[in-house]
């Protein structure tokens, strides 16, 4: 429990002449609900993509340590390798497999780390059948967990926004992760769905023991959920602390809360 789950040190990510992340350092403690906030274009999604292997930052190190004894340097690893190491994520604009049912969406996550299985699939022997049964059970279990059991056979594209968000969480959990990265899970959901989602995220941590890293614009949700926050602005970390500390931080108020989003918060 001593080492952090994620240890990000001096990460810089550039696209041509544009610096997207500038000397970012952060750490994610085990079992923590951590949030990253910041105005649009602050580099939050770039940070997520760097943490999951989609982008490879030019400078710095990102070390993910699943159980305190198997550190993995994320930079340069392909996303599927990072996923196998125990990182699951959702996307800002939810990316379901649109023509698949909810059940199939989750099942893909549940079986992707089981190796190849071409021969097994051709022969369809007892061990393949057993694996199939196990993944089906796991899939049902997760659909029940997020409350989508009734919609298991619905095409994911025809689910409403809140349900898609929950489905994406179930799909991520199916890969048996240590940490779940949520990219604006509440975007496009209505107030009652937001309450459900907050509840669900907390249950993921409490009941499944999965740490949470969250990007969110909805301040009410972030402040009620997160135990610690990082604030990004123009690609740099400008503040770090508990929700109360962040609320009181003058830099943050000026960069983020005080400007465009202050009115936004009041509207909720």
């Amino acid at each position: 429990m001593s080492t952090p789950l994620y240890d990000v040190t001096n990460v810089t990510l550039r696209f041509g002449g544009v610096t997207s992340l500038n000397n970012v350092s952060m750490h994610h403690n085990r079992g923590e609900i951590l949030a990253v906030i910041g105005p649009n274009g602050a580099g939050k999604t770039s940070l997520f993509n760097s943490l999951t292997g989609v982008y490879a930052p030019q400078e710095g190190t990102i070390v993910f340590d699943r159980d305190g004894s198997s550190p993995l340097s994320v930079i340069g690893k392909k996303p599927h390798r990072v996923s196998a190491a125990g990182v699951a994520r959702t996307f800002q604009a939810s990316r379901m497999f649109p023509a698949m049912t909810a059940f199939e969406n989750v099942k893909i996550g549940a079986e992707s780390h089981r190796g190849f299985g071409v021969i097994g699939a051709m022969v369809k022997g007892p061990s393949t059948r057993r694996h199939e049964r196990e993944t089906d059970e796991r899939t049902w279990e997760l659909l029940r967990f997020v409350g989508l059991e009734q919609q298991a056979n619905v095409i994911s594209n025809s689910l409403n926004y809140g349900a898609r968000r929950r489905l994406e969480i179930a799909r991520g959990l199916a890969t048996n992760p240590t940490v779940l990265l949520l990219d604006e899970p509440a975007a496009g959901t209505n107030p009652s769905e937001k309450v459900e989602l907050t509840e669900l995220i907390r249950r993921v941590r409490d009941e499944m023991g999965v740490s949470i890293l969250l990007i969110e614009h909805d301040m009410k949700l972030v402040m009620s959920l997160a135990e610690r926050l990082y604030v990004l602005n123009f690609g740099s970390v400008i503040a770090e602390g508990t929700p109360e500390e962040i609320r009181a931080n003058p830099d943050v108020i000026e960069a983020y809360l005080g400007s465009s989003d202050a009115g936004n918060e009041g509207a909720h």
Partner: protein, 451 residues
């Protein structure tokens, strides 16, 4: 005792020994009814050159090859393979499958198989008997193979003919019909060329796939198109190896000959029909199992959203290369059949229009739908053969492609998902047409470029 036999090491060693014995017998001299055991024993004891160094029994040569291969596999696992993570599963109620519907479908398949088996007894016209093998059964096999690549994995392959050509040329090679001379120190029956050709074609699929499958969409289509042309050019120009444009020498007919058992496929097309039919059924079973396995689901996931699939731990490159190799295997087998039946091959058969022809069968039948593709190939090929056999006034054989092109355009307008589409493909196409998916893609690009 049971634990001993099911331990991974024992299983693996057992599989290696079985493979070693099979390959050695397969490539060994044919059997002899007078001395039934000779075909087996001489396969192992025959003295051959050990990689050109010194003479040694064949059994030793193949054991050495096997050890080298096993070494490569072990090295690969040690260095490149990531540890497999096991998902924990707790006991909850199970998923129920719809078994009633399945049995109805099963009886349809059984009826279709009976019709297919009876067909050569009904159709006695020599033209049609020959066409049933070389133009219908083999094309169906090619179409279901291409369907794995195009329909399941969503990769547009315009050079599918290359694998067909490799299958045919490997057959000619191992039967000693090429100028380069036969491997394994003596000629092999074309029947045993089937597994050898499939292995070669799958290797070719992997070799082509690994560098090119990082490309997407149009770029992949262009590279595969080029690959098809390269193989044809090789066949045409490597006189010393392939015999150039004059083609191969005489390829013997299929013979199954191990120990006392012997069966000779002669000039009559009917036995070839049954052999091909058997393999069509085998490939149909394998492909439909793959479709409904996690391999098939991974293909669909990659096709629908590669980035999301990757984030869930699906390795896109691996699965795409696998689709390429598996699709290629059926093309390789089709190549062997063609070579064995027509006992002569030349590069003129392996053209771009051949690849397009197979693609038409897949698109017409319904991409991603195995039954659709089978029905599509049967229909299109039967009508094509009918036009060639009894041409209407003014019809010339080369006109066929005009009609195939027109058919394709008409299908794209009126029934873009194909004659008998898979449910999922129909949904995907409906999503694209309604613009929902397009909207989603636009949002995604914004996400990707958010700084």
């Amino acid at each position: 005792m049971k634990n001993f036999f099911s331990s991974p090491l024992v299983k693996r060693v057992g599989a290696m020994v079985a493979l070693w014995a099979t390959v050695t017998v397969m490539t060994g001299p044919p059997g002899n009814p007078a001395q039934p055991t000779l075909g087996f024993t001489s396969s192992f004891t025959e003295r051959v050159s050990f990689f050109g160094l010194f003479p040694t029994p064949r059994g030793v040569l193949f054991a050495a090859l096997g050890l080298i291969l096993a070494g490569i596999v072990v090295l690969y696992r040690r260095i490149l393979h990531t540890p497999v993570q096991r998902a924990k599963a707790s006991i909850v109620p199970t998923y129920q499958s719809i078994s009633a519907k399945r049995s109805v479908r099963g009886s349809w398949y059984a009826a279709a198989l009976v019709v297919a088996i009876m067909l050569p007894h009904v159709v006695t016209d020599p033209f049609w008997q020959s066409a049933m093998v070389s133009q219908i059964a083999i094309y169906t096999l090619l179409a279901i193979g291409l369907n794995v690549v195009v329909g399941f994995a969503g990769l547009l392959d315009l050079g599918f003919v290359a694998f067909y050509a490799i299958g045919a040329y490997v057959t000619a090679w191992v039967t000693g019909a090429l100028p380069i001379g036969a491997p394994f120190h003596h000629v092999i029956d074309p029947f045993w060329a089937i597994p050898i050709a499939i292995v070669f074609v799958m290797i070719a699929g992997v070799l082509l796939g690994v560098p090119t499958l990082r490309l997407r969409g149009d770029y992949l289509a262009i590279v595969t198109l080029g690959f098809g042309e390269i193989i044809t050019l090789f066949a045409n120009n490597l006189y010393g190896i392939t015999g150039g444009s004059t083609g191969s020498g005489e390829i013997p007919h299929f013979v199954f000959h191990v120990g006392n058992l012997k069966y000779l496929w002669g000039l009559n097309p009917v036995p070839y029909y049954y052999l091909t039919l058997g393999f069509v059924v085998l490939f149909l079973i394998i492909f439909s199992r793959l479709e409904h396995s996690r391999v098939g689901r991974a293909w669909i996931a990659i096709r629908e959203d590669e980035v999301a699939a990757e984030s869930l731990g699906v390795n896109p490159l691996k699965y795409k290369v696998m689709a390429f190799a598996i699709g290629a295997a059926s093309a390789g087998f089709a190549g062997v059949m063609t070579a064995g039946q027509s006992f002569f091959i030349n590069p003129a058969t392996f053209t771009l229009s051949f690849s397009i022809n197979i693609l038409v069968l897949v698109i017409f039948g319904g991409m991603g739908s195995i039954m659709g593709v089978v029905i599509g190939s049967l229909l299109v090929q039967t009508v094509s053969m009918y036009l060639i056999h009894t041409p209407p006034a003014g019809f010339q054989n080369s006109d066929l492609y005009i009609y195939l092109g027109a058919l394709l355009i008409a299908m794209m307008i009126f029934r873009p998902a194909g004659l008998w589409p898979s449910k999922r493909r129909r949904r995907e196409i409906a999503l694209v047409e309604s613009g929902e998916e397009k909207d989603q893609r636009i949002v995604m690009t914004q996400t990707g470029e958010e700084l």
